[in-house]
Structures are given as C-alpha cells and as structure tokens.
Symmetry: D4
Subunit: 256 residues, 8 copies
C-alpha cells in the first residue's frame, strides 16, 4: 500500500499531472502522513499480525468502550486486558444496546468481542504450553491463554506443577516436549523455568508473578532469579505479564 | 540410546540372562546411572540439540582445557565462553602439542575447537539478526554471533544503529523484517528493542549490556527498561548475556 | 526595593535622623526582616518571575483555600497542584460566597483562580511542546500545560506518540522542531525522550511517569532510563512531575 | 541537501531520465541511504548544531584516533570525552606525525583538536555559569566547561561554594543571576542546586557527582536528592555527566 | 511401593505375560505416573512427615474449604495458614453442617481441623523455644506455635525480650539453653538472634518481621541484619514466615 | 537498690540465716529476678531517665489503654505515640469513667496523661530548637515537641524555613545559635540539615520525613542525603522519627 | 565452673574468711570479671561447643598468626577462614620455626592447625551432605566441609548437580535422604534448595553464592530466591557463607 | 568583627567621610565580601569551634600539603583524614624541609600537624567512649579518636565487645555509663548500638562500618539496622564515618 502510494505519485509526476515542487513536499511527509491517515489498528495488523490490544489499567470505562467498538468494527474482534471486575461491570452496564456486547473473563481480567471458541490442539498442530508453578499463578496463565485464543493459536494449560513437588511435572513431560513454545509462570523463587529449561528443548518464555510475600518483593525476586537461570533456552518478560508472553509466542508462531 | 539400554535389559530378563532382582535394582537407577556413566555432553545434545558449552568465567585454565578436549572428542567441536585474554593465552601456551588447538576470538572472549566457517544466509535461508545500539555493545554481539555459528545457524550482524541516530536503522529494515529472530543488544537506557518492537513483526530477544555509567548501574537500568517495554514481541535475557540470547534463538530455530 | 530600603536607611543616618546603633541593628537583619514582613509571594515573583504555587498534596482543604485567597489577592491569580477530586469538591463546597471561586481541572488535578484563556501559539511566537508517549500519561501532560498557561506561556500538546508506533510521531516533527522547549512525558521504559533527542535540536525536559507495572517500579525504571539516555540535549525531573517540567520551561522562556 | 536530492530525482523522472520503478525504489530508501552514504558527523551538525562528540570510555586508542581525524577533517574541530591519562598518552604517542595533534586536558579527561581560545563573557554576552559544591567536583566542571568551549559558548566557573559554607556563595550571586543557564555540580547530599534554585531565577541543570562514600552510593544519593528538590527551575542529568549538562545548555543557548 | 510396581512388571515380562515393547514404554513413565495416581497429600506425608499445609493467602474461601475437607479426610487433621479474619468468617459461615468444622485462631490467622491439645514439654521432652523481641511480633510467634502444635511438637513461647531491655531475657536463659531448637522472631533492626546466638549453643532459626517503619522497609532491614549476624548457629527464613520456621524445626525434630 | 539486695543476702549468709546452696541459687538469678519483680517502667526510669513510652502503631486500643493506666499509676504521667485518630477515638470512648482520661493531640498523633504545661524557655534556660523545612513536616515536629514536653524539656518550634526560600531561615538564626540541640526535619531532598550544619555550631539531629513523591521514595532519599551531608555536627534518625530525635535530645540534655 | 566460683565465695563468707563488703563487690562483677580473666576461647567452647574460629578477612598476617597460636595452645587445634593465598603464604613464610605450622587449603581459603583426618561416614553414623549446584560453588563447599571436619563431624560432598541437568541429582538421592542435615550451595538463580526441599525430608541449610553476573548481583538474587522458596524445611545463611552453614549444622548435630 | 565592620561604615557615613551611594554598594556585599576576604579557616573556627579539617580522599598530595600548611599557619594545628598510606608517603617525601612535618597515623589514615598528646580522662573530666564491635572496626575507631584528640577532647577506646560475646561488654559498663557521649562502631548486622541503647542513658552516636560481606552490602545493612533500632538515645552517621561521629561529639561537648 505504501509502495502503491509512491508509485501513483511518481506516475503523476511522470505524466505531468503534478509539478515537482508539490510532489517533493508530499514525498517528504508521505510515509508518515499516510500512516497518520490510516487508522492505527489497521496498520498494526499489517505490521505485526495482530490488531492493537487495549491496555485497560489506566483507562476510563468510556475510553475502553470506545476503543473496543472501534477496533471490533475494523477487525471483527477486540480485546482489552487488565480490566478489573468493577470497571468491567460498569462497561457492561452502560454498553449501547444496539451493539454486540463484550464478554468478561474475571480470572483473566479481560473483556473480549468476537473471541471465538478455544480448541485443543489436534495431532500435529502447533501449540503453546502454558505452565504454572502454583494455583495462585492461574490468573496470569488465563490472561496468556485468552490472548493466545484471541490471536488464533492453540494452547494447553498445565497448572500447579512447581518445584515443591516436582513429580507432578513428569506426567506432562511429553506434552511439554512437543510444544512449539512454553510459557512458564511462577512466583516466589521462580524456579520452574530453570527446571523446565534443564529438561526441555523448547524456547521457554518465563513469566514471574507477584505471588509471595516479604523478600519476594511483589515478583522482583522471581524476575531476577529467572534472568539468572543456569538453564538454557529461557527468556523473560515483566512481572505478571501473561499478555506479553502470549504476544511473544505469537511473534514466534506466526512464522510457521 | 536411553530407550535402547532399557530394551536390552528387558531382553536379557525375557531371555533369562538376568534375574528379576538385579534387573529391578538396575532399572531403578538406570536412567540416572546411565547418565552418570556416560558423559554429560552426549545427553545434553540428545535433550536440547547442542553439546554442553563451557562457562569459562570461574574455571581454571586447566579445567577449561580438560573440558574442551573431552567435549571436542565427543562432538567434534567445543566452545568456551567468557574466557579473558590472559586466561586464553595461558590455555594456548600450555596446550598439548599433539591435540588440535582451539582458536581464540578476543572480541567475543571465546575459545573454540572445530568451529567451521561462518556464511551469510542465502536467499530463503532462515537467519538471526544480531543488532547493537552502539559500538561498545560489539563484544556481546560477537559472543552471540559466535555461539550461533557454533550451533550451525546463519546470522547477520548490524552495528551502531541506536536511537541517538534512528535514521541509521532504516536502511536495515528489510533485513530485519525477514529475520526469523532478532537479538537486540543495547546498554544505557536500552531503548533499541522498544523501537524495533514497534517496527518489526519478529520475536525480539533483548540483551541489556553494562555499557554506560552512573545510574546505568552496570546494565540494570537497560534490563529493567527492556522488561517494561511498551512494544510487543520482546523478551529479555540477563545483562551482557549474548550467549543466552543465541541459545534461545537456537531453541526457536531448531524447530523449523 | 531592597536597595531602596537600604538607601532610605543610610539617608536617615546621614541626615542624623537615626543613630548608628539602631541603624546597625536594622542593617544586620534588614534583608531578612524585610522579607519576613513582606509576604512570601511577592518576593518569589520578584526573584523568580512567578507567584508561589501551592503544593496541595499534604495540605488540608482549609490550608489550600487560605493560600489560594491570599495569593490571588496579591497577584490576581493563584494555582494549587496535586489536589484530588474529593479534596477539590470539599474546597469548592465550603468556599466563601463573596469571593471569586476557583475552577477545578480534574485531569490536571489543579485548582486555579484567574487562570485566563489558553491560546495556540501564533506564527513566530515561542511555545513549549508537551508530548506524551501514551494516553495514560495525559494527566501529567495536563498538569504541565495548565502550569504553563498559568505562567503565561504558549504550548501545544501532542499525545500518544510513543515508540510502540513511532510513525505516529513523524507528522508532528515540524511542530516539535520549532518549539523552544520540549517536555517529553513517558512511563514504562521511558524511551520517548531518547527518540526525540536523536531527532530534534531543542532542549528536552523529560518527565518519567508512574505508568506501568511490575519492574516499572512506579516510574523508577523510566526515570533511570531517561537519565542514561544516549541521545543529547535531555535533562530529567522527578516522576510524574509535570509541574516541575513546566517551571523549568518557564525559567528558560522568561529569558527571551 | 536532503531536499535537493529528492528534487533532482523528481526532475529526472519528470525529464524522463529515470523510469518510475527505479525512482520509486530509490525514494523508499533515499532519506536513509543518503544518510548512510554521508558521514554521520555532517548530518548531526545539521540536525543538532554540533558535530558528533566521541565517547572515549569503551573505545580503543585506535578507534579514538580514527574518529578524531575523521571528524576534524569534516568540521575543523573534534572532541573526545572520558579519555583516561594512560589512553591519552598512548594516542598521542602513536599519532601520525603529519597530522595536527590533539591536546589533552587531564582534569577534564578530554582530547581536542581545533578547540580555540576560551574567553570570558563580555558585557551583555550570554554565558553559562558552571558551579561546583567542592573541589572534588572540579573534574566534572572542567568537562562541562571544555564542552561548552568546544561548542563555542562563553562560561564562568565558580568552585567550592557548597552548603557547608554558604557565605562563600554570596559574592557570586550577581554573576549567577545574570547567567542564561546554570550548571550546578555537587556530590554527597547534592544540596547545592536546591539552594541555587531558591535564590536564582535561571534554569539550573543539576549534575550529581560520585564524590562521597558509604551511603552516597557513588552519586546515586545526590542524584535522587536533586530530583526531589523542593526548589523550582531544576532539571537533572546522569551522575558525573558534565558533558551532558553542557550539551543541554548548548541546546538552550543556540536558540538565542 | 514403587519397588513393588517395578517388580510386578519385571515378573510379567519374565513370565511372558507382557511384551518387551509395552514394558519398556511403561517403565519410562512409571515412577512419575505412579506418583500422579497417588494423591498429593499422602505422598507428602511419606516424603516429609507432614500432610500438605494450605497457604491461604491467594485462595478463595471455597478453595480453602475444599482443601481442608480433603486433607482432613486423608490425615485426620488439616491446617490453613494466612487466612484473614474476614475470609475465615466466610468459610465458617458457609461450612457444610454435616462436617466437623474448623476452628479459627485470629492472632495466628490459621484455620485448623483436628488440631488437638497443646501441652507444655514434660521434663526431658524435646521442645522448640519460640521467642519474640516485641509484642508486635506475637502474630508470627503464634503462627509458628500453632504449626508446631499441628505437627505434634512441644514448644514454649517467650515474648517481648528484645534488646531494648536485655535484662528481660536473662530469666529465660535456662529454658532457652535446653531447647532443641530456637525460633527467634524480631522486626526493626532484628538484633535478637545475634544476642541469642552469642549466649546459646542451639540452632537458631531467625524470623524477621515487618514490624517497624521508614527504613525498616517492611522487614527487609531485619532480614539482612539477621543474615549478616556476627554470632554463630543462626539461619534465616523469609519475613513474617513463622510457618516456615516451624517447618524447619519440624525437619530437625523428626530425626530424634 | 540492687547493691542493697545483695548486701542483705550476704548478711543472711554471714549470719547463718540462709544456707549456702539457696543463697547461691538466688544469687545466680537475683539481678534478673529482681528486674523481673519490679515493673519494667520503674527500671527504665532509673536507667535512662524516662518512663517507658508506648509505641501505639501495632497495639490494640485495649493494650494501649492498659499500658497508659499502668504507666500513669507508676509515674504520674504516660505517653503513647503513633496513635491514629480512629484508634484514639475508640480509646477515649471506652475509657473507664473513674480514671483520669488521656488527651489526644491529633497533629502529633499522641495520647498523653499528666502532660503538664508547655512553656517557652526563659532567658538562659536550655532548649531544643525543632525546625521544619515545610508545612508538611509539621506532624513530625509536633511529635518531637510533645515528646520533649513530656520529658520536661523546653523547646521552640520554627516552621517552613526550607531551602526553597532560604531567607526565611535568617531571622531565626540567633534562636538557633543559642539552642543546646537542634532537631532539623525535612522531606524531599532533605537539604535543611546541611544548610543548618554550615551555619550553626550544632549539634543537629536530622529527621528525614516521608514528604514528597516519586524518587523521594517515602523519605529514603532524604534519609540518605542527610547521612552524606558535607556539613558537620549532624547525625540522623529513622524516617518520620520525631519521637526518636526527641529521645536523643533528652539523652543529651539530661547531662546538664 | 561459674557455679563453683560462686559456691567457693559463699563458703568463704560463711566461714568468715571474707568480709561481706568485698564479697559483695566481687559478686557484682564476678560473672563478667571471671569471663574477662579466662580466655575468650575457653568460654566459647563451654558455651557453644567449639573454640573461637578466626575470621581472616580483615586481619593482618601477624594478627592471624597470633590468634592461631593462642587458640591452638588452648584447644590443640585452630582454624582461620577467608585467608587469601597471598596472606597465607606470608603467614607460613614468617611462622616461628619452633612451633607446629598450620597447613593451607587454597580452595577453602583456610589455615588449620591440628585438623586431623577426614573420614567417610560409616554405616549408621550421622553426617552432613554438602551439595553444590555447579563447579564454581566448590570453594564454598570446601569451606563448609573443612569447618565440619574441624568440628569433628562426618560429611559427604556432592558436586555439580544443579537444576540445569536435574538427572545428575537422582543417583545421590539415597545419600541425601539419609543425611541428618543438608547444606545446599548454589549461585545464579539459586534453585537447588527448592528442588531438594521438594524431594527430601530435610533440614536444608541453603547457601547462596556470588556465582553469576549481571542481575545475579553477586549472590543477592540467589539469596532472595532461596528465602522465598516454595518448598519446606529450608533456612538460609549469608552469601558465600559456607562456614556459617557448617556452624549451624554443628549446632544441630551436637544435640545427638 | 562583622558587627564592627558595619559600625565603622556607619560611622563613616554619619561623619560624612563616605557618601551614601558607595556605602550602600558596600553594605549590600559586605557580609559576603568580608567572608570572602578572610580565610575560610578563621571563619569556620569562629562559627563552629574547629578549624576546617581536610577531606583527603579526592585530593592530590600537593593539594593536601598546601592545605595542611595554610591551616597550620593560621591555627597552629591541622588535620587531614582519609589519606591512604601511599599518598601519605608521597606527601612526607616531598615535604618542604624548612617546615614542621606532619606525622602519619596509618590505622586512622590521618595526617596531623601540632596534634599534641592524648591523655586519659582524669576523675570528673568529661570524655567520649569510643566502642567497637570487632577488631575489624578499629580503623574507624582510631579515626574518631584522633579527631577527638585533635579537637581537644578526652576519650577512652573499648574494642571488640560485640554481641557475639556480650559478656565482654559488661566489665566496661561503668566507664560507658559515665561517658558524656558514646560512639558505637559496628559492621555486619550492627547490633551493638541497640544493646548499648538498652543498657545506657547516654546519647549514642552509631557508626556503621563496611565490615562484612555478601548482603552486608559494604555497611548498608548495618546502617539501616542502626536507624531502625528499637532502643532509644541513638542517632546515626554515614558508613565508616568515624570522623563525622567525632565532630558530632565535639558539637555536643563544646557546650559544657
């Protein structure tokens, strides 16, 4: 599209339909102006394969509603993350009756429009394994899973297999070994990705969580522990950032 | 091989060549005992697709030499990272004359045996783009590149394209867009991965470096900035960990 | 005025109207006593070109009301920053009916008296460009803008042009290049000032915000990233300190 | 120049000397390719009013020499900062005899070519006041001063006037009040900018230094103290960053 | 039990009742599959001598109730720690009438089923001494004591004997000297374990608490102080972790 | 008293009224037993010249009431610090009608019994100067002042004389110079003690406060800045610890 | 002995051999004076079961020599920890020829006199298992082992069984399960104690090491990760404190 | 003197010997100009009772020599602190033969001129007790002691009485109780001031030291522990700041 615009302009100059001065002026600004004309959402999908996703934390209910409606209109689906239960209730209560209403997943704290069905990966289908160390990490796992579902990927969720009872992990080893990407979620000391990194070949995206107290420092200890893992094939995203891990997995999976 | 050992044992039991008691005793320990007998290196390659790589920082010259020889004997190649110039000189000076000697890459601080040739990616071949923000990040880029070469992957290195002069980045956009994985290396404020994450679809493994002074805190500011990036498709490894980024890229690339 | 007081005193001594002892006593204390007699506000305006501005965060509604009234009486205008919505409502509800009432700007969390009209900069007029990386930084931008308006400066606000979609920045480059001073506001990794510093000649006052979660540490990561920027012409104020950035711009602009 | 290149290209298209396809291809890359062809230095001067300045800390003597020669050839002057005494000696010892040799200022740790004479500001001339709290901050003051001199600005240096003996500051108040910009340099508790900010109208660029021990934490305490100053008109740069403060002052002064 | 399963399998192979291929497949997974079949709780008791204890902080009332019932059914007792008063009230209010109800200890913030009686240590019986520096550390002491009681150990509690009035400690020295293990609980500067470590032979498990304000940093200062104690025989657990200290004492005491 | 007890005991032994065995047993424990018999409060006054003062923050209303009554009974006066308005109201509402009721000072957050009158220092009387940088530090100043009053010392309070308007300090210099001890209270960058330390002969007890936001870090920046002050005669207490500064001044003043 | 001294004194008073006044004076000081007369070493052994051990880090060679000689004379053995190779060489070179010379263990950085033989634990004998995650933790393991040997305890050392290759741990499970106490040593993310805590009945004394780089922060990340372990039966000592872990094990083992 | 200058000036105006304009000009600057004319040292002694003391850490040998000579000429004595052994040797080697040479105290790292004799406090004389927790804190104790001697105060030094063997403290209690001020020096967990604060009435100036390793963080843990002490009458100076503690004691003692 960008190339087309330039081509048209050059054809106008070559055909004498546009003088050099004004063509020049337009050319200096074109790549940016053009982007400015198009909506943000359309461009993001072209560039990165996903519509813009709304970060709900610092937005008002009205802003979230407006964004959901506009993105849904352009893409047929929309997602807002980090929307607390109260804010979601307010959004749903004031939703325009004529429009398709979003559904709210409380554990993932997400509002979605046009999310579609989740389905287990069929034989040979690529999938992401989303693993948690403990049940208190489930919300982050659900945020990652919902984001993957929104972006059209298959996934399996494996919960509560942390290092305090390592044997719980072993029945899942085959499913983990076959995953194209593993999202490993853990709070406290954050040792799960290290253990997985020692056992599995795959790329592991580690997500530290704010589970724990005292010197767990709201996830900072798990974050730093994951970054210094002695195992290989591990990279790390921000604390409680299940959404970011899913987006990274998306960047990886869309290449196949 | 592991499966083979078990099969042999069961055949011996089935053939009456081994009584149940001693088979049982061996089976309880076999997977581990066998691993204990065999060298570590062989198993790592089966499990993760790469021989064990030597972390040279806290090892004596003698320990590094021994490990290089043993791993090279098993795999036909060996790599030791984080070997300073003085330690490398001592290793080379005392190397057994009868053995093939390692070569030392001072900028990457690596010793290698059987490294082979680096080659540019041919058309359609998958590759990793290793990008630095400044010339002072080159050592980390070289460590990543050498590790990729050791693991048999193609790569391109793009240097000194940080945000202080963003225009330097644009001529490389096409090469970056086609890369299967991008390793983005930056110190100081570590803004390069954010900029790349906004422009590119690919998975970006961000490597903070200890470049900078004062509140750069030996790379901690870059590390934390990268983890809080507002762009998508980014995950992060430890400060100055070019090696770890390359291993993560390897985990990703070996799936194609 | 200070010089005048001293001159009058010396004339009284020279004219025999004051004995040396009491002149001496007054002279020792005069510069301070005089300041103690005059109101704080009047002196601040002489010294720094602005009336004292009220920091509302740790003050009671009564204290804020009293200060607003007193400063407005002296200067014809008054400003209180960091006044939450509840506190503002209480101040307005208990305001003396006979006095001109302040108006409240909820997004900027400011109360003002005698603020006057904001106007876009005419051709050739100096102005400050107040730029944010994301919509969640708008409150800080509004605080800066209102402070500039209060101090009589022109400004333009440009919002949501952070590095996650850098192309959104380019249409504004000309406006940014012509600004006498740029206030660049960003949370999370705080990369916006670095990008602006690489593109623009102007002095950039960077304002980190507490936008973000996890290792964003309520703005500390953005703060430290901005301080270690590889770009030039950047200096930094405290987290969420839109007010302080505006005052710095004021110190700069009043010299023209 | 950039505009000229585009104009020439359009004229070639309009004149039929270039077909649309190849013009289009060139236009997509032109602004960047052109920058890539031209030397970095020339462009930086157009964009920001100063040639690129070499950060010497992580560069080899050879790299610094090469950069000095190339920048001096283009601009008639060149500056490298953060060059230690030993590295400077090595550079000077191996300098090509046929070329004009740089001179080394040990206290500022800078190498310069074509620096020219420093001169006191004449009456009415704009200048920067570079103030230190203690004698141990002199190196940073000298780095700032030399950078200002290199960029063609006037300055005065005032030393050792920190808050431990505030009366030492007062004789300099008039010079400080008339300065267009003040660079205030202090280590330990970093209180000097707060005191100046309370007394002076001007914009104050505060530079924390690593002077001090224990909980001074190599300048971090001074840095954070300056950022939380209760006085107005203050912004802050990184620890020991006299160079950055001078560049900020340059961005400010070049607008007059 | 694990050995029995393997023996049966080998007997089947030796007896021709199972072919080698399927035996092999089962053997690879058996040790883990078997663990997966058994319930978590039963296995924990075999392995570590205590049923699993429920961490109540991030669990819903329903989850806590379910876990209490299931663990009580298997072991005849159950314990949930870190259950706030409101959550406990909700659990008790919705408890199934037909089931034995848990009792709530508000100071220890624990729910228990089948806790049994606490009894003072008889002459010659081993016991743990649980010591606090101040009355504000009592909740942590009570959590440790209740956990010890749940695990069947004797203990004495000694309160408010911190270093601000060291003489209060001396009447308890004999009881402290005879304890098999000492749990020393202190906030603020956390000096109590150091003083005890200098006076007593026993192993001291130090528990820092979040008592204090300002630079006490919610227990971090006490934690770090305890870790750097100049006295001997001291090890440390996380801030406010009375439960963890009791479990460590249990690991020690069950060996007698 | 302690010596008397020992003397009596020895006289009983010498007089045959006590056998050696039981005397020995008593002697081993006497100094501590005796302390255990006496109330804590009486001993503290003998040892340090003040009754025990109640730290109200982690205590229940009932505990505070009990302690106030018991200490008041022993000493004729009692003080509880860090008692929030709600807790104080609850204490006062449930106070036994027959007992003298405590009075509550909301700004100092203190409950007192038998406090007595505050009086300005007469000519020649020793006093403490309690100085604040800003009005938001007043609560800490009031806590210090009330504690001094409770301990029977004279004091003057000087408010809002921080470095943002240094001239406000000068009229108070004479009062400050004559004080036996200065308590200097400041938040944000905490520069006030440095300025006082440069002007006054001291000693100065610096109290950092949690006033400020962002990188002020709830007083940590002020704390560290005060500890690295370049001025002399300054020592520091914990953040917001007006009480501790008053106790230190008490330890100093009671020696005259 | 202490009780004996008091008994003798009382007998002297009862027997009229000592007057009350001088007995009283002696009694007031006796427990301390007696300690002051006796050497420190003798008392430490009575109180805690080990002679004082010399911390060599901040001591001169002369001080270490003197202490070794004095402690060896009293106890027949002596140990100095944290003695670097250079300092040890200087001590040995200047050792008095007539005295038994200490031997130096470079990996443990310890000097010993009268250390005796290490012996493997016989069947049924209690022992400590000293386990490391990697070869770079060996120095700390050797310090712990030597200290245990010095204190007369049996131990086994198991090296390089960290989570990057968990299978290496399993052959040692039986030895680990039978140990009375486990010292688990690990750097980087410090996950080894968590894994052991999930598999073993404990108790486990975790020792973080300074192995690692970047955000490993010289062991702080491992320390904090160990303190937040989700597994049970774990307590922690300071970074690189193999000596402290051994002393804690000693306090535990001497009770059997 | 200052008052005299003003008086003279006023007399000149009253006597017609000076016109009003020039008197006014002089008066505006007089207090500062006068201070600028007089040497810094003379004024410091008037203001704070001690000549300026040289902080040697960031000064060249030449600068230290010059300062020592100038201050000694004015006051008959001079002191430079934090002068390393090498720098001291260079200063002494290049000292002008005609001048009285300074003497160097290596343990205190101080150079002095005209120090005079230290003497024990006679009966009834006021003194400072300088107490250390361990022998590795001796250098800081010696720095404090030498500074006290230089300022003309009496002191006693008590060493190695830390909490690891509290009984070592008790023989010194009487000397400690009679001291006018106690300087308590400790590294590691820094518990000594807390213990002293619980036992003694006096004001205690706590000095944390950088003794210790790992999480001792070069004295930061001791510093923070001392600031959160539960005992009363304690204030704190910077890490290793024996000099600052002595100056604070001086500010206190000079009032008697």
């Amino acid at each position: 599209m960008n190339r087309d615009s330039i081509q048209q302009l050059l054809e106008q100059v070559a055909g004498g339909k546009m003088d050099i001065e004004s063509a020049m002026s337009e050319l200096v600004h074109l790549p940016f102006a053009e982007l400015a004309h198009s909506t943000l959402d359309l461009h993001r999908e072209l560039r990165q394969g996903s519509p813009e996703i709304i970060f709900g934390e610092n937005k008002t209910p009205q802003q979230i509603s407006d964004n959901l409606i506009r993105i849904h209109a352009a893409h047929g689906k929309a997602l807002a993350t980090r929307v607390g239960a109260d804010k979601a209730a307010e959004i749903l209560a004031t939703w325009s009756p004529g429009l398709p209403a979003p559904s709210y997943q409380p554990s993932a704290r997400c509002l979605t429009l046009g999310l579609g069905q989740a389905a287990s990966p069929a034989d040979g289908e690529r999938y992401v394994a989303v693993v948690t160390a403990g049940t208190s990490d489930l919300a982050i796992s659900d945020e990652a899973a919902l984001t993957l579902q929104f972006l059209g990927h298959r996934f399996v969720q494996i919960n509560d297999v942390g290092v305090a009872g390592l044997h719980r992990l072993f029945p899942h080893l085959e499913v983990l070994q076959k995953a194209t990407c593993i999202i490993a979620i853990a709070g406290m000391e954050g040792a799960l990705p290290s253990v997985l990194g020692g056992l599995l070949p795959g790329p592991i995206v580690a997500v530290p969580t704010s589970t724990g107290y005292g010197i767990a420092r709201d996830g900072e200890t798990a974050l730093h522990a994951m970054l210094t893992s002695c195992a290989s094939g591990i990279s790390v995203v921000n604390i409680d950032n299940g959404f970011g891990a899913a987006l990274f997995a998306h960047a990886l999976l869309r290449q196949f």
